[in-house]
């Protein structure tokens, strides 16, 4: 293992992107992700890359659209209100099947909300916040090291599937500093040749990158079917999660990102009290690791979903569990975060209710 250095999540994401060959960044300042454009404005020129402070999030995502059509690894980042603005461009990029990375360092909403950490953009991220039937690969890191690793992977998956990837973090994971091992980038998939890029039609037929499909009449139906087939393939191939002490668990906590860290602490507290609790932490939120939850639901008594939002993530957990066991909920939005004690309290009440039911 290499030497570890102390870095903030937001900075690590930038460095991982640079290591992975990202050479174009466009963004707009918004708290709590300001370290990202600041870091990139300094770092991009050092590697002959491009940094543009855009006039808006709309412009930023469309600059990324152009950079991706030019074949370069590219990214933008923002926080919740800014990500809403980017949805137009994300829909276009997904429709045009171009790769890019979008980072959402989530803050409280709706509206301007506040600048505290939140997970309330879950639906927007995993269900598609823009128009049309499209999917974005959504990654939810829980540590600074994982931000480093997943950011690198994100560029590979984006290129491999020709699809936007979103890194769904939050104000805490972006701002917290942890020791991280910086290792050189190595692709984790066989990267396909970029035979779609617009670089002038010298010696070949002109190419078109577009999302408008008027001809033939059912051309857009065919295009959508093609997209859905791709999404199915991604669902089959890409499903990442961490399982923690689930083997004998009577209660399994479902939580992602920073919430899962706190939940892990609660697992530890509950175990000390003799309650067998485990944790499933999805790392990919789309594709959702449904199998992990479906399997756990067969052996565990109950599932507790913990999220920093008012019941978004729980919908996917319930779909995966499909009624096989009860799914309880603990969560709030607006910058609220759970404590280990609060989760423990909920677990104890769930355990007590079960014990009573068994009598």
């Amino acid at each position: 293992m290499g030497k570890k250095i102390l870095l903030k999540g937001n900075e690590v994401m930038c460095e991982a992107a640079v290591q992975a060959g990202c050479r174009f960044f466009a963004g707009y300042p918004i708290t709590p992700q300001n370290e990202v454009p600041e870091y990139m404005s300094k770092r991009m020129p050092q590697v002959d890359g491009v940094f543009v402070q855009a006039e808006s999030e709309l412009a930023a995502i469309n600059m990324v659209f152009g950079a991706s059509a030019s074949g370069v690894r590219c990214m933008t980042s923002s926080s919740s209100p800014g990500i809403s603005l980017k949805q137009e461009g994300i829909s276009y990029i997904a429709g045009a099947e171009l790769p890019c990375l979008i980072a959402n360092v989530q803050r409280g909403g709706p509206g301007l909300g506040n600048i505290r950490a939140s997970q309330a953009d879950y639906f927007q991220a995993v269900k598609g916040g823009g128009h049309g039937d499209y999917r974005v690969i959504v990654l939810a890191p829980a540590s600074v090291q994982e931000i480093y690793n997943l950011t690198m992977n994100a560029f590979d998956w984006a290129d491999y599937y020709r699809n936007p990837v979103m890194l769904l973090g939050d104000g805490i994971s972006g701002q917290m500093a942890e020791p991280v091992e910086i290792f050189p980038y190595k692709p984790i998939v066989d990267l396909p040749a970029k035979d779609y890029i617009l670089d002038g039609c010298a010696g070949r037929k002109p190419r078109v990158v577009k999302t408008l499909v008027l001809k033939p009449t059912d051309g857009l139906v065919t295009h959508n079917e093609h997209l859905q087939e791709k999404y199915k393939r991604i669902e089959n191939e890409l499903s990442l999660y961490e399982e923690y002490q689930t083997a004998d668990a009577d209660i399994v906590i479902a939580a992602y990102g920073i919430t899962a860290r706190i939940a892990k602490g609660a697992v530890s507290l509950a175990r000390k009290k003799g309650i067998a609790v485990g944790l499933i932490r999805p790392i990919t939120l789309w594709p959702f690791p449904s199998d992990a939850f479906a399997t756990a639901a067969q052996t565990t008594g109950q599932i507790l979903t913990v999220e920093m939002s008012h019941g978004q993530f729980i919908e996917d957990v319930k779909l995966a569990v499909n009624g096989a066991c009860p799914v309880e909920f603990l969560g709030k939005g607006g910058g609220w975060y759970p404590t280990e004690e609060l989760i423990l309290e909920k677990i104890e009440s769930m355990a007590a209710a079960t014990a009573k039911g068994n009598l």
């Binding site: 917290m176 500093a177 975060y337």
Partner: protein
Amino acid sequence: MDRHETRIIIAGFGGQGIVLIGNVIARAAVIEEKNVVGMVSYGAEMRGGTANATVVISDGEIFNPFVAHPDMAIILNQPSLDRFEPQIGKDGLVLMNTSMIKRGPQRTDLKCIKVDATQIAQKVGNLRVANIVSVGAFIEHTNLLSMSSIEQAIKDLFSSKNPKLVEINLEALHTGAERSRCMQPVR
């Protein structure tokens, strides 16, 4: 799963170098190959009023990055002590900058280390090193990290910026340690 974990809060005025204290402690922990999570209050919360940073140091995996009930607190001004005293865990330790804190903790379970950090910093020659004076006292009275790791962290942080800053911060660190040495924790 027996692991030793210490949760620390550092608080004071914005401008007292709160973030730097967190940074120095967290870097020293990395040098000692411990796990660590550091966080600072950010954005609008950071402009005016109290600033705070938290550090969690562990020899195992750190789950919760938040510090709700710190084991140890480094407090550089009165409003911060008033704000954070109720949150400190039972039998916790408080290092307080007596230059700017006239009313000590009301709780009797807290161990208290007193250092006249701002005064000492003035004597060292720069008011701004009161934060590192506090770190010196803090390290002297805890078994958390070795003084040499802190020294290394200070060198790592400042040597690229200005070698003179290394010198004065090391002096502040050692003076803080010396000047608080005779002060036993009071119950």
